[in-house]
Symmetry: C2
Subunit: 322 residues, 2 copies
Protein backbone atom coordinates (compact mmCIF):
# COMPACT_ATOMS: atom_id res chain seq x y z
CA UNK A 1 0.00 0.00 0.00
CA UNK A 2 1.02 3.54 -0.51
CA UNK A 3 1.07 6.51 1.78
CA UNK A 4 -2.50 7.44 2.50
CA UNK A 5 -3.84 10.74 1.39
CA UNK A 6 -6.03 12.29 4.04
CA UNK A 7 -9.52 12.93 2.75
CA UNK A 8 -11.77 15.29 4.73
CA UNK A 9 -15.40 14.45 5.53
CA UNK A 10 -16.70 17.28 3.35
CA UNK A 11 -14.51 16.46 0.34
CA UNK A 12 -15.45 12.81 0.48
CA UNK A 13 -19.16 13.53 0.82
CA UNK A 14 -19.13 15.93 -2.14
CA UNK A 15 -17.11 13.45 -4.21
CA UNK A 16 -19.55 10.59 -3.60
CA UNK A 17 -22.55 12.87 -4.23
CA UNK A 18 -21.17 13.61 -7.71
CA UNK A 19 -22.04 10.01 -8.64
CA UNK A 20 -25.50 8.49 -8.81
CA UNK A 21 -24.59 5.68 -6.42
CA UNK A 22 -26.49 6.58 -3.24
CA UNK A 23 -25.17 7.65 0.12
CA UNK A 24 -21.88 6.52 1.62
CA UNK A 25 -22.11 3.74 4.22
CA UNK A 26 -18.49 2.68 4.69
CA UNK A 27 -15.02 3.95 3.75
CA UNK A 28 -11.84 2.08 4.60
CA UNK A 29 -8.28 2.34 3.40
CA UNK A 30 -7.08 -0.98 2.00
CA UNK A 31 -3.57 -2.28 2.18
CA UNK A 32 -3.10 -3.52 -1.37
CA UNK A 33 -1.67 -1.70 -4.34
CA UNK A 34 1.82 -0.29 -4.08
CA UNK A 35 1.54 2.71 -6.37
CA UNK A 36 -1.69 4.35 -5.22
CA UNK A 37 -3.95 4.90 -2.23
CA UNK A 38 -6.96 2.60 -2.39
CA UNK A 39 -10.13 2.74 -0.34
CA UNK A 40 -13.01 0.33 -0.13
CA UNK A 41 -16.22 2.29 -0.51
CA UNK A 42 -19.70 1.00 0.34
CA UNK A 43 -22.74 3.00 -0.66
CA UNK A 44 -26.44 2.30 -0.47
CA UNK A 45 -26.24 0.75 -3.96
CA UNK A 46 -22.99 -1.15 -4.11
CA UNK A 47 -19.32 -1.66 -3.40
CA UNK A 48 -16.51 0.22 -5.08
CA UNK A 49 -12.79 0.88 -4.94
CA UNK A 50 -11.74 4.51 -4.81
CA UNK A 51 -8.21 5.08 -6.06
CA UNK A 52 -6.21 8.23 -5.45
CA UNK A 53 -3.30 8.27 -7.86
CA UNK A 54 -0.04 9.12 -6.18
CA UNK A 55 2.97 10.61 -7.89
CA UNK A 56 4.37 7.48 -9.55
CA UNK A 57 1.42 7.26 -11.93
CA UNK A 58 1.59 9.98 -14.60
CA UNK A 59 -1.64 11.95 -14.78
CA UNK A 60 -1.60 12.07 -18.59
CA UNK A 61 -1.64 8.24 -18.71
CA UNK A 62 -4.81 7.87 -16.62
CA UNK A 63 -7.31 8.26 -19.49
CA UNK A 64 -5.53 5.34 -21.25
CA UNK A 65 -5.85 3.06 -18.22
CA UNK A 66 -9.49 3.96 -17.49
CA UNK A 67 -10.57 3.68 -21.13
CA UNK A 68 -8.80 0.32 -21.39
CA UNK A 69 -10.77 -1.05 -18.45
CA UNK A 70 -14.02 0.10 -20.09
CA UNK A 71 -12.92 -1.42 -23.41
CA UNK A 72 -12.05 -4.78 -21.88
CA UNK A 73 -15.14 -4.93 -19.67
CA UNK A 74 -17.32 -4.26 -22.73
CA UNK A 75 -15.71 -7.29 -24.41
CA UNK A 76 -16.43 -9.54 -21.44
CA UNK A 77 -13.10 -9.50 -19.63
CA UNK A 78 -13.90 -9.42 -15.93
CA UNK A 79 -12.09 -6.37 -14.66
CA UNK A 80 -13.02 -3.34 -12.58
CA UNK A 81 -15.25 -0.93 -14.48
CA UNK A 82 -14.67 2.81 -13.95
CA UNK A 83 -17.88 4.41 -12.71
CA UNK A 84 -19.07 7.50 -14.58
CA UNK A 85 -20.21 10.45 -12.49
CA UNK A 86 -23.41 12.42 -13.13
CA UNK A 87 -21.56 14.32 -15.86
CA UNK A 88 -20.14 11.19 -17.50
CA UNK A 89 -16.58 11.56 -16.24
CA UNK A 90 -14.43 8.68 -14.97
CA UNK A 91 -11.27 10.67 -14.14
CA UNK A 92 -11.87 13.10 -11.30
CA UNK A 93 -10.01 14.83 -8.52
CA UNK A 94 -10.12 14.36 -4.75
CA UNK A 95 -7.90 15.82 -2.03
CA UNK A 96 -5.72 17.42 -4.69
CA UNK A 97 -5.06 14.15 -6.49
CA UNK A 98 -6.40 12.48 -9.61
CA UNK A 99 -9.05 10.00 -8.50
CA UNK A 100 -11.33 7.35 -9.96
CA UNK A 101 -14.08 5.15 -8.59
CA UNK A 102 -14.15 1.61 -9.98
CA UNK A 103 -16.43 -1.34 -9.32
CA UNK A 104 -15.40 -3.84 -6.66
CA UNK A 105 -14.37 -7.24 -7.95
CA UNK A 106 -14.94 -10.34 -5.85
CA UNK A 107 -12.10 -12.85 -5.77
CA UNK A 108 -8.86 -13.67 -4.03
CA UNK A 109 -5.35 -13.53 -5.29
CA UNK A 110 -3.44 -16.72 -4.76
CA UNK A 111 -0.31 -16.47 -2.60
CA UNK A 112 1.13 -19.61 -4.13
CA UNK A 113 -0.35 -20.42 -7.55
CA UNK A 114 -0.75 -24.04 -8.59
CA UNK A 115 -0.81 -25.58 -12.05
CA UNK A 116 -4.53 -24.89 -12.48
CA UNK A 117 -4.04 -21.24 -11.62
CA UNK A 118 -1.23 -20.96 -14.20
CA UNK A 119 -3.52 -22.48 -16.78
CA UNK A 120 -6.31 -20.02 -15.96
CA UNK A 121 -3.86 -17.16 -16.11
CA UNK A 122 -2.52 -18.23 -19.51
CA UNK A 123 -5.99 -18.34 -21.01
CA UNK A 124 -7.00 -14.99 -19.51
CA UNK A 125 -3.80 -13.35 -20.74
CA UNK A 126 -4.43 -14.52 -24.29
CA UNK A 127 -8.04 -13.27 -24.17
CA UNK A 128 -6.77 -9.94 -22.89
CA UNK A 129 -4.40 -9.75 -25.88
CA UNK A 130 -7.11 -10.70 -28.36
CA UNK A 131 -9.72 -8.36 -26.89
CA UNK A 132 -7.25 -5.50 -26.61
CA UNK A 133 -6.44 -5.69 -30.34
CA UNK A 134 -8.93 -3.00 -31.35
CA UNK A 135 -8.33 -0.67 -28.41
CA UNK A 136 -7.72 2.63 -30.18
CA UNK A 137 -5.44 4.44 -27.74
CA UNK A 138 -1.67 4.09 -27.56
CA UNK A 139 0.82 4.28 -24.72
CA UNK A 140 4.50 3.44 -25.16
CA UNK A 141 6.09 1.06 -22.65
CA UNK A 142 8.25 3.33 -20.53
CA UNK A 143 9.80 0.26 -18.93
CA UNK A 144 11.22 -1.42 -22.02
CA UNK A 145 14.84 -1.43 -23.24
CA UNK A 146 15.48 2.36 -23.31
CA UNK A 147 13.68 2.72 -19.98
CA UNK A 148 15.83 -0.03 -18.44
CA UNK A 149 19.02 1.67 -19.59
CA UNK A 150 17.85 4.98 -18.12
CA UNK A 151 16.88 3.30 -14.86
CA UNK A 152 20.25 1.57 -14.67
CA UNK A 153 22.02 4.87 -15.35
CA UNK A 154 20.24 6.37 -12.35
CA UNK A 155 21.15 3.37 -10.16
CA UNK A 156 24.75 2.99 -11.35
CA UNK A 157 27.22 1.38 -8.98
CA UNK A 158 24.63 1.67 -6.18
CA UNK A 159 23.46 -1.73 -7.40
CA UNK A 160 26.52 -3.24 -5.75
CA UNK A 161 25.09 -2.20 -2.39
CA UNK A 162 22.26 -4.65 -3.05
CA UNK A 163 24.48 -7.50 -4.21
CA UNK A 164 28.24 -7.25 -4.86
CA UNK A 165 28.90 -7.44 -8.61
CA UNK A 166 25.30 -6.64 -9.51
CA UNK A 167 26.13 -3.46 -11.44
CA UNK A 168 28.48 -5.32 -13.77
CA UNK A 169 26.00 -8.15 -14.26
CA UNK A 170 23.19 -5.74 -15.18
CA UNK A 171 25.53 -3.84 -17.49
CA UNK A 172 26.44 -7.01 -19.37
CA UNK A 173 22.83 -8.11 -19.65
CA UNK A 174 21.67 -4.73 -20.91
CA UNK A 175 24.40 -4.82 -23.56
CA UNK A 176 23.34 -8.31 -24.60
CA UNK A 177 19.66 -7.36 -24.84
CA UNK A 178 20.45 -4.18 -26.78
CA UNK A 179 22.22 -6.35 -29.34
CA UNK A 180 19.61 -9.14 -29.28
CA UNK A 181 16.13 -7.67 -28.87
CA UNK A 182 13.43 -8.68 -31.34
CA UNK A 183 12.03 -5.92 -33.54
CA UNK A 184 9.08 -7.32 -35.44
CA UNK A 185 6.99 -9.43 -33.08
CA UNK A 186 3.21 -8.96 -32.91
CA UNK A 187 2.33 -5.90 -30.86
CA UNK A 188 -0.77 -4.88 -28.95
CA UNK A 189 -2.02 -3.84 -25.55
CA UNK A 190 -0.19 -5.68 -22.76
CA UNK A 191 -0.88 -5.70 -19.03
CA UNK A 192 2.86 -5.71 -18.25
CA UNK A 193 2.40 -6.44 -14.53
CA UNK A 194 0.18 -9.51 -14.35
CA UNK A 195 1.58 -10.87 -11.10
CA UNK A 196 -0.49 -13.20 -8.90
CA UNK A 197 -1.72 -10.28 -6.78
CA UNK A 198 -3.38 -8.80 -9.86
CA UNK A 199 -5.34 -11.92 -10.75
CA UNK A 200 -8.39 -12.96 -8.75
CA UNK A 201 -9.75 -16.47 -8.38
CA UNK A 202 -12.94 -17.83 -6.85
CA UNK A 203 -12.06 -21.38 -5.96
CA UNK A 204 -10.00 -22.64 -8.88
CA UNK A 205 -11.70 -20.39 -11.41
CA UNK A 206 -10.14 -17.13 -12.50
CA UNK A 207 -12.62 -14.38 -11.61
CA UNK A 208 -10.93 -11.24 -12.84
CA UNK A 209 -7.89 -9.11 -13.60
CA UNK A 210 -7.03 -5.86 -11.83
CA UNK A 211 -4.44 -3.07 -11.72
CA UNK A 212 -3.95 -1.88 -15.28
CA UNK A 213 -1.58 0.92 -14.33
CA UNK A 214 1.42 -0.47 -16.21
CA UNK A 215 -0.61 -1.38 -19.31
CA UNK A 216 0.90 -0.15 -22.57
CA UNK A 217 1.47 -1.10 -26.20
CA UNK A 218 4.32 -3.54 -26.67
CA UNK A 219 5.15 -7.04 -27.87
CA UNK A 220 2.42 -9.45 -26.78
CA UNK A 221 4.93 -12.22 -26.11
CA UNK A 222 6.76 -9.95 -23.66
CA UNK A 223 3.62 -10.08 -21.49
CA UNK A 224 3.83 -13.88 -21.62
CA UNK A 225 7.47 -13.61 -20.52
CA UNK A 226 6.50 -11.40 -17.54
CA UNK A 227 4.02 -14.09 -16.48
CA UNK A 228 6.54 -16.92 -16.86
CA UNK A 229 8.71 -15.01 -14.39
CA UNK A 230 5.94 -14.12 -11.99
CA UNK A 231 4.02 -17.41 -11.92
CA UNK A 232 6.35 -20.31 -12.67
CA UNK A 233 9.15 -20.13 -10.13
CA UNK A 234 8.94 -21.81 -6.74
CA UNK A 235 9.84 -20.02 -3.49
CA UNK A 236 13.17 -21.92 -3.47
CA UNK A 237 14.06 -20.35 -6.85
CA UNK A 238 13.50 -23.44 -8.96
CA UNK A 239 11.62 -23.18 -12.25
CA UNK A 240 8.45 -25.27 -12.38
CA UNK A 241 8.26 -26.43 -15.96
CA UNK A 242 4.86 -28.05 -15.40
CA UNK A 243 3.38 -24.68 -14.44
CA UNK A 244 5.05 -23.03 -17.43
CA UNK A 245 3.67 -25.67 -19.77
CA UNK A 246 0.18 -25.18 -18.31
CA UNK A 247 0.45 -21.41 -18.73
CA UNK A 248 1.75 -21.56 -22.31
CA UNK A 249 -0.60 -24.30 -23.51
CA UNK A 250 -3.61 -22.44 -22.11
CA UNK A 251 -2.38 -19.24 -23.76
CA UNK A 252 -1.96 -21.00 -27.09
CA UNK A 253 -5.45 -22.52 -26.85
CA UNK A 254 -6.72 -18.97 -27.40
CA UNK A 255 -3.88 -17.27 -29.25
CA UNK A 256 -1.13 -19.48 -30.73
CA UNK A 257 2.36 -18.02 -30.52
CA UNK A 258 4.11 -17.45 -33.87
CA UNK A 259 7.40 -19.22 -34.64
CA UNK A 260 9.22 -15.90 -34.15
CA UNK A 261 7.54 -15.31 -30.77
CA UNK A 262 8.56 -18.80 -29.66
CA UNK A 263 12.13 -18.29 -30.87
CA UNK A 264 12.46 -15.03 -28.94
CA UNK A 265 10.69 -16.19 -25.78
CA UNK A 266 13.90 -16.86 -23.78
CA UNK A 267 15.23 -13.41 -24.69
CA UNK A 268 11.94 -11.77 -23.75
CA UNK A 269 12.02 -13.66 -20.45
CA UNK A 270 15.53 -12.30 -19.77
CA UNK A 271 14.25 -8.81 -20.50
CA UNK A 272 11.25 -9.26 -18.21
CA UNK A 273 13.48 -10.56 -15.41
CA UNK A 274 15.86 -7.62 -15.91
CA UNK A 275 12.94 -5.16 -15.78
CA UNK A 276 11.85 -6.31 -12.32
CA UNK A 277 15.45 -6.70 -11.15
CA UNK A 278 16.01 -3.05 -12.08
CA UNK A 279 12.84 -1.60 -10.58
CA UNK A 280 13.25 -3.59 -7.37
CA UNK A 281 16.88 -2.52 -7.09
CA UNK A 282 15.88 1.08 -7.66
CA UNK A 283 13.07 0.86 -5.12
CA UNK A 284 15.26 -0.76 -2.50
CA UNK A 285 17.92 1.93 -2.86
CA UNK A 286 15.36 4.72 -2.89
CA UNK A 287 12.95 3.60 -0.20
CA UNK A 288 12.63 6.24 2.44
CA UNK A 289 13.10 4.67 5.87
CA UNK A 290 9.69 6.09 6.77
CA UNK A 291 7.94 4.72 3.70
CA UNK A 292 4.91 2.53 4.25
CA UNK A 293 5.86 0.36 1.30
CA UNK A 294 8.14 -2.54 2.02
CA UNK A 295 10.66 -2.93 -0.80
CA UNK A 296 10.68 -6.32 -2.53
CA UNK A 297 13.81 -8.42 -2.90
CA UNK A 298 15.73 -7.72 -6.13
CA UNK A 299 17.77 -10.90 -5.81
CA UNK A 300 14.71 -13.01 -6.57
CA UNK A 301 14.81 -11.54 -10.06
CA UNK A 302 18.58 -11.85 -10.35
CA UNK A 303 18.15 -15.60 -9.88
CA UNK A 304 15.36 -15.67 -12.47
CA UNK A 305 17.49 -13.73 -14.93
CA UNK A 306 20.33 -16.21 -14.54
CA UNK A 307 17.90 -19.06 -15.15
CA UNK A 308 16.71 -17.58 -18.45
CA UNK A 309 20.31 -16.88 -19.50
CA UNK A 310 20.88 -20.63 -19.45
CA UNK A 311 17.71 -21.46 -21.41
CA UNK A 312 18.43 -22.70 -24.93
CA UNK A 313 14.97 -22.63 -26.50
CA UNK A 314 11.25 -22.24 -25.82
CA UNK A 315 11.18 -26.01 -25.38
CA UNK A 316 12.91 -25.48 -22.02
CA UNK A 317 9.68 -23.81 -20.90
CA UNK A 318 7.81 -27.06 -21.26
CA UNK A 319 6.32 -26.61 -24.71
CA UNK A 320 6.69 -29.43 -27.20
CA UNK A 321 8.06 -28.97 -30.70
CA UNK A 322 5.84 -26.56 -32.66
CA UNK B 1 -2.48 -0.27 10.60
CA UNK B 2 -0.03 -2.75 11.90
CA UNK B 3 2.54 -4.91 10.24
CA UNK B 4 0.73 -7.50 8.23
CA UNK B 5 1.05 -11.11 9.07
CA UNK B 6 1.35 -13.23 5.96
CA UNK B 7 -1.41 -15.79 5.76
CA UNK B 8 -1.00 -18.69 3.34
CA UNK B 9 -3.78 -19.82 1.01
CA UNK B 10 -4.12 -23.17 2.78
CA UNK B 11 -4.21 -21.72 6.30
CA UNK B 12 -6.79 -19.15 5.32
CA UNK B 13 -9.00 -21.69 3.57
CA UNK B 14 -8.92 -24.06 6.55
CA UNK B 15 -9.62 -21.17 8.93
CA UNK B 16 -12.69 -19.99 7.00
CA UNK B 17 -13.94 -23.57 6.61
CA UNK B 18 -13.98 -23.91 10.40
CA UNK B 19 -16.94 -21.47 10.44
CA UNK B 20 -20.37 -22.08 8.93
CA UNK B 21 -20.20 -18.93 6.81
CA UNK B 22 -19.80 -20.28 3.27
CA UNK B 23 -16.84 -20.04 0.93
CA UNK B 24 -14.40 -17.15 0.82
CA UNK B 25 -14.98 -14.63 -1.98
CA UNK B 26 -12.67 -11.74 -1.03
CA UNK B 27 -9.85 -11.07 1.42
CA UNK B 28 -8.14 -7.70 1.73
CA UNK B 29 -5.88 -6.17 4.34
CA UNK B 30 -7.35 -2.95 5.68
CA UNK B 31 -5.39 0.03 6.82
CA UNK B 32 -7.19 0.84 10.05
CA UNK B 33 -6.37 -0.28 13.56
CA UNK B 34 -2.96 0.42 14.98
CA UNK B 35 -2.51 -2.52 17.29
CA UNK B 36 -3.54 -5.46 15.13
CA UNK B 37 -3.68 -6.73 11.56
CA UNK B 38 -7.18 -6.44 10.14
CA UNK B 39 -8.59 -8.00 7.00
CA UNK B 40 -11.89 -7.47 5.29
CA UNK B 41 -13.39 -10.88 4.55
CA UNK B 42 -16.27 -11.54 2.18
CA UNK B 43 -17.86 -14.97 2.07
CA UNK B 44 -20.88 -16.34 0.26
CA UNK B 45 -23.00 -15.38 3.28
CA UNK B 46 -21.69 -12.07 4.53
CA UNK B 47 -18.96 -9.61 5.36
CA UNK B 48 -16.58 -9.89 8.28
CA UNK B 49 -13.44 -8.42 9.78
CA UNK B 50 -10.67 -10.90 10.56
CA UNK B 51 -8.31 -9.65 13.24
CA UNK B 52 -4.90 -11.14 13.92
CA UNK B 53 -3.74 -9.95 17.32
CA UNK B 54 -0.18 -8.71 17.26
CA UNK B 55 2.12 -8.56 20.24
CA UNK B 56 0.76 -5.41 21.93
CA UNK B 57 -2.50 -7.12 22.83
CA UNK B 58 -2.05 -9.65 25.63
CA UNK B 59 -3.44 -13.04 24.70
CA UNK B 60 -4.93 -13.59 28.16
CA UNK B 61 -7.05 -10.45 27.75
CA UNK B 62 -8.71 -11.55 24.51
CA UNK B 63 -11.53 -13.57 26.11
CA UNK B 64 -12.53 -10.42 28.06
CA UNK B 65 -12.71 -8.29 24.90
CA UNK B 66 -14.60 -10.87 22.85
CA UNK B 67 -17.07 -11.68 25.63
CA UNK B 68 -17.65 -7.95 26.18
CA UNK B 69 -18.62 -7.50 22.52
CA UNK B 70 -21.07 -10.38 22.80
CA UNK B 71 -22.46 -8.96 26.06
CA UNK B 72 -22.97 -5.49 24.61
CA UNK B 73 -24.41 -6.71 21.31
CA UNK B 74 -26.92 -8.84 23.23
CA UNK B 75 -28.07 -5.66 25.02
CA UNK B 76 -28.57 -3.79 21.77
CA UNK B 77 -25.32 -1.81 21.55
CA UNK B 78 -24.31 -1.82 17.89
CA UNK B 79 -20.83 -3.25 17.91
CA UNK B 80 -19.04 -6.02 16.05
CA UNK B 81 -20.19 -9.47 17.10
CA UNK B 82 -17.56 -12.21 17.35
CA UNK B 83 -18.56 -15.11 15.11
CA UNK B 84 -18.55 -18.57 16.69
CA UNK B 85 -16.95 -21.37 14.71
CA UNK B 86 -18.53 -24.79 14.22
CA UNK B 87 -17.28 -25.74 17.68
CA UNK B 88 -18.58 -22.58 19.36
CA UNK B 89 -15.23 -20.84 19.75
CA UNK B 90 -14.68 -17.12 19.12
CA UNK B 91 -10.96 -16.99 19.95
CA UNK B 92 -8.91 -18.97 17.45
CA UNK B 93 -5.46 -19.09 15.94
CA UNK B 94 -4.22 -18.25 12.45
CA UNK B 95 -0.68 -17.95 11.12
CA UNK B 96 0.68 -18.47 14.62
CA UNK B 97 -1.33 -15.60 16.11
CA UNK B 98 -4.51 -15.32 18.13
CA UNK B 99 -7.32 -14.52 15.72
CA UNK B 100 -11.02 -13.71 15.72
CA UNK B 101 -13.64 -13.17 13.08
CA UNK B 102 -16.16 -10.43 13.85
CA UNK B 103 -19.13 -9.09 11.93
CA UNK B 104 -18.60 -6.11 9.64
CA UNK B 105 -20.19 -2.87 10.81
CA UNK B 106 -21.38 -0.31 8.27
CA UNK B 107 -20.60 3.30 9.05
CA UNK B 108 -17.92 5.93 8.74
CA UNK B 109 -15.79 7.53 11.35
CA UNK B 110 -15.85 11.29 11.28
CA UNK B 111 -12.52 13.01 10.67
CA UNK B 112 -13.76 16.21 12.25
CA UNK B 113 -16.69 15.66 14.61
CA UNK B 114 -19.35 18.34 14.93
CA UNK B 115 -21.65 19.16 17.82
CA UNK B 116 -24.21 16.57 16.74
CA UNK B 117 -21.54 13.86 16.65
CA UNK B 118 -20.40 14.77 20.18
CA UNK B 119 -23.98 14.52 21.34
CA UNK B 120 -24.38 11.08 19.74
CA UNK B 121 -21.12 9.97 21.28
CA UNK B 122 -22.12 11.13 24.76
CA UNK B 123 -25.37 9.20 24.65
CA UNK B 124 -23.69 6.04 23.30
CA UNK B 125 -20.98 6.20 25.95
CA UNK B 126 -23.56 6.39 28.73
CA UNK B 127 -25.51 3.45 27.27
CA UNK B 128 -22.25 1.50 27.07
CA UNK B 129 -21.66 2.21 30.78
CA UNK B 130 -25.20 1.25 31.76
CA UNK B 131 -25.25 -1.91 29.64
CA UNK B 132 -21.80 -2.96 30.78
CA UNK B 133 -22.86 -2.84 34.43
CA UNK B 134 -23.70 -6.54 34.65
CA UNK B 135 -20.78 -7.79 32.55
CA UNK B 136 -19.31 -10.45 34.83
CA UNK B 137 -15.66 -10.44 33.80
CA UNK B 138 -12.99 -8.13 35.18
CA UNK B 139 -9.87 -6.59 33.70
CA UNK B 140 -7.79 -3.99 35.53
CA UNK B 141 -6.84 -0.85 33.62
CA UNK B 142 -3.16 -1.31 32.93
CA UNK B 143 -2.99 2.28 31.74
CA UNK B 144 -4.12 4.03 34.91
CA UNK B 145 -1.97 5.81 37.52
CA UNK B 146 0.48 2.97 38.34
CA UNK B 147 0.74 2.15 34.63
CA UNK B 148 1.50 5.77 33.79
CA UNK B 149 4.27 5.91 36.38
CA UNK B 150 5.79 2.70 34.99
CA UNK B 151 5.54 4.02 31.44
CA UNK B 152 7.19 7.27 32.47
CA UNK B 153 9.96 5.36 34.23
CA UNK B 154 10.71 3.55 30.97
CA UNK B 155 10.69 6.83 29.00
CA UNK B 156 12.65 8.90 31.53
CA UNK B 157 14.59 11.88 30.22
CA UNK B 158 14.01 10.62 26.69
CA UNK B 159 10.83 12.69 26.84
CA UNK B 160 12.97 15.79 26.45
CA UNK B 161 13.87 14.58 22.97
CA UNK B 162 10.21 15.03 22.08
CA UNK B 163 9.85 18.47 23.68
CA UNK B 164 12.47 20.19 25.87
CA UNK B 165 11.30 20.21 29.48
CA UNK B 166 8.69 17.50 28.90
CA UNK B 167 10.20 15.03 31.38
CA UNK B 168 9.98 17.55 34.22
CA UNK B 169 6.43 18.52 33.26
CA UNK B 170 5.27 14.89 33.22
CA UNK B 171 7.03 14.25 36.51
CA UNK B 172 5.23 17.15 38.20
CA UNK B 173 1.87 16.13 36.79
CA UNK B 174 2.29 12.52 37.88
CA UNK B 175 3.14 13.70 41.39
CA UNK B 176 0.07 15.93 41.44
CA UNK B 177 -2.23 13.14 40.25
CA UNK B 178 -0.78 10.65 42.70
CA UNK B 179 -1.70 13.07 45.47
CA UNK B 180 -5.08 14.03 43.97
CA UNK B 181 -6.68 11.02 42.34
CA UNK B 182 -10.23 10.09 43.29
CA UNK B 183 -10.72 6.77 45.03
CA UNK B 184 -14.43 6.14 45.33
CA UNK B 185 -16.10 7.09 42.06
CA UNK B 186 -18.56 4.70 40.38
CA UNK B 187 -16.74 1.93 38.56
CA UNK B 188 -17.67 -0.31 35.67
CA UNK B 189 -16.62 -1.42 32.22
CA UNK B 190 -15.09 1.45 30.26
CA UNK B 191 -14.06 1.59 26.61
CA UNK B 192 -10.96 3.66 27.48
CA UNK B 193 -10.15 4.52 23.85
CA UNK B 194 -13.33 5.93 22.35
CA UNK B 195 -11.68 8.23 19.84
CA UNK B 196 -13.53 9.37 16.70
CA UNK B 197 -11.99 6.55 14.63
CA UNK B 198 -13.70 4.03 16.91
CA UNK B 199 -17.20 5.48 16.50
CA UNK B 200 -19.15 5.00 13.28
CA UNK B 201 -21.87 7.26 11.93
CA UNK B 202 -24.31 6.90 9.06
CA UNK B 203 -25.17 10.45 8.16
CA UNK B 204 -25.54 12.22 11.51
CA UNK B 205 -26.67 9.11 13.34
CA UNK B 206 -24.24 7.07 15.41
CA UNK B 207 -24.23 3.56 13.92
CA UNK B 208 -21.81 1.67 16.12
CA UNK B 209 -18.77 1.41 18.36
CA UNK B 210 -15.66 -0.61 17.53
CA UNK B 211 -12.23 -1.56 18.86
CA UNK B 212 -12.71 -2.76 22.43
CA UNK B 213 -9.07 -3.72 22.93
CA UNK B 214 -8.41 -1.21 25.70
CA UNK B 215 -11.66 -1.92 27.51
CA UNK B 216 -11.28 -2.57 31.24
CA UNK B 217 -12.86 -1.93 34.62
CA UNK B 218 -12.25 1.56 35.92
CA UNK B 219 -14.01 4.78 36.91
CA UNK B 220 -16.85 5.48 34.48
CA UNK B 221 -16.20 9.22 34.57
CA UNK B 222 -12.62 8.60 33.43
CA UNK B 223 -14.09 7.32 30.15
CA UNK B 224 -16.01 10.61 29.86
CA UNK B 225 -12.73 12.45 30.44
CA UNK B 226 -11.03 10.47 27.64
CA UNK B 227 -13.83 11.53 25.30
CA UNK B 228 -13.64 15.19 26.34
CA UNK B 229 -9.99 15.07 25.28
CA UNK B 230 -10.56 13.16 22.07
CA UNK B 231 -13.70 14.91 20.77
CA UNK B 232 -13.85 18.48 22.06
CA UNK B 233 -10.61 20.14 20.98
CA UNK B 234 -10.25 21.86 17.63
CA UNK B 235 -7.27 21.25 15.31
CA UNK B 236 -5.83 24.62 16.43
CA UNK B 237 -5.74 23.35 20.04
CA UNK B 238 -8.68 25.38 21.32
CA UNK B 239 -11.31 23.73 23.52
CA UNK B 240 -14.81 23.78 22.04
CA UNK B 241 -17.04 24.19 25.05
CA UNK B 242 -20.18 23.81 22.90
CA UNK B 243 -19.09 20.32 21.85
CA UNK B 244 -18.22 19.45 25.46
CA UNK B 245 -21.63 20.64 26.65
CA UNK B 246 -23.33 18.57 23.94
CA UNK B 247 -21.31 15.49 24.91
CA UNK B 248 -21.92 15.85 28.65
CA UNK B 249 -25.61 16.73 28.40
CA UNK B 250 -26.26 13.76 26.11
CA UNK B 251 -24.33 11.52 28.50
CA UNK B 252 -26.36 12.78 31.45
CA UNK B 253 -29.64 12.23 29.60
CA UNK B 254 -28.90 8.51 30.00
CA UNK B 255 -26.69 8.38 33.08
CA UNK B 256 -26.46 11.50 35.28
CA UNK B 257 -23.03 12.15 36.73
CA UNK B 258 -22.83 12.17 40.53
CA UNK B 259 -21.65 15.31 42.40
CA UNK B 260 -18.35 13.57 43.13
CA UNK B 261 -17.87 12.61 39.48
CA UNK B 262 -18.50 16.20 38.45
CA UNK B 263 -16.12 17.53 41.09
CA UNK B 264 -13.34 15.22 39.93
CA UNK B 265 -13.92 15.65 36.19
CA UNK B 266 -11.08 18.18 35.66
CA UNK B 267 -8.64 15.87 37.47
CA UNK B 268 -9.80 12.86 35.44
CA UNK B 269 -9.38 14.93 32.27
CA UNK B 270 -5.80 15.74 33.31
CA UNK B 271 -5.18 12.04 33.88
CA UNK B 272 -6.66 11.12 30.51
CA UNK B 273 -4.54 13.74 28.75
CA UNK B 274 -1.44 12.48 30.56
CA UNK B 275 -2.24 8.88 29.55
CA UNK B 276 -2.20 9.72 25.82
CA UNK B 277 0.73 12.10 26.23
CA UNK B 278 2.70 9.23 27.77
CA UNK B 279 1.77 6.52 25.27
CA UNK B 280 2.35 8.82 22.32
CA UNK B 281 5.71 9.89 23.72
CA UNK B 282 6.65 6.27 24.26
CA UNK B 283 5.51 5.29 20.76
CA UNK B 284 7.36 8.16 19.13
CA UNK B 285 10.60 7.27 20.91
CA UNK B 286 10.19 3.56 20.21
CA UNK B 287 8.92 3.55 16.65
CA UNK B 288 11.16 1.49 14.46
CA UNK B 289 12.14 3.51 11.38
CA UNK B 290 10.73 0.65 9.30
CA UNK B 291 7.44 0.50 11.15
CA UNK B 292 4.28 0.80 9.13
CA UNK B 293 2.60 2.73 11.91
CA UNK B 294 3.05 6.48 11.84
CA UNK B 295 3.51 7.76 15.39
CA UNK B 296 1.01 10.39 16.54
CA UNK B 297 2.06 13.75 17.91
CA UNK B 298 2.49 13.75 21.72
CA UNK B 299 2.44 17.55 21.87
CA UNK B 300 -1.25 17.59 20.99
CA UNK B 301 -1.85 15.96 24.38
CA UNK B 302 0.64 18.17 26.18
CA UNK B 303 -1.47 21.16 25.09
CA UNK B 304 -4.64 19.41 26.23
CA UNK B 305 -3.08 18.58 29.59
CA UNK B 306 -2.14 22.23 30.11
CA UNK B 307 -5.70 23.25 29.28
CA UNK B 308 -7.15 20.95 31.93
CA UNK B 309 -4.58 22.14 34.47
CA UNK B 310 -6.13 25.59 34.19
CA UNK B 311 -9.72 24.34 34.51
CA UNK B 312 -11.32 25.31 37.83
CA UNK B 313 -14.49 23.23 37.81
CA UNK B 314 -16.75 21.00 35.70
CA UNK B 315 -18.62 24.21 34.78
CA UNK B 316 -15.65 25.11 32.56
CA UNK B 317 -16.67 22.12 30.40
CA UNK B 318 -19.93 23.81 29.55
CA UNK B 319 -22.22 22.19 32.08
CA UNK B 320 -24.49 24.44 34.11
CA UNK B 321 -24.69 24.33 37.90
CA UNK B 322 -25.86 20.90 39.04
Amino acid sequence: MAVYTDVSDEELEAFIASYAIGGLTSFKGIAEGVENSNYLVHTETGRYILTLYEKRVARQDLPYFLALMEHLAARGITCPLPVRDREGRTLKELAGRPAALITFLEGLWVRRPGIGHCSGLGEALARFHVDGADFPMHRANSLSLPGWAALFASIGSGADNVTPGLAREIDKELLHLEQHWPADLPQGVIHADLFPDNVFFLGDKLSGLIDFYFACNDKLAYDVAVCLNAWCFEPDGSFNVTKARALLQAYESVRPLSPAELEWLPTLARGAALRFLLTRTYDLLNTDANALVKAKDPNEYLRKLRFHQRVKSYRDYGLGEH
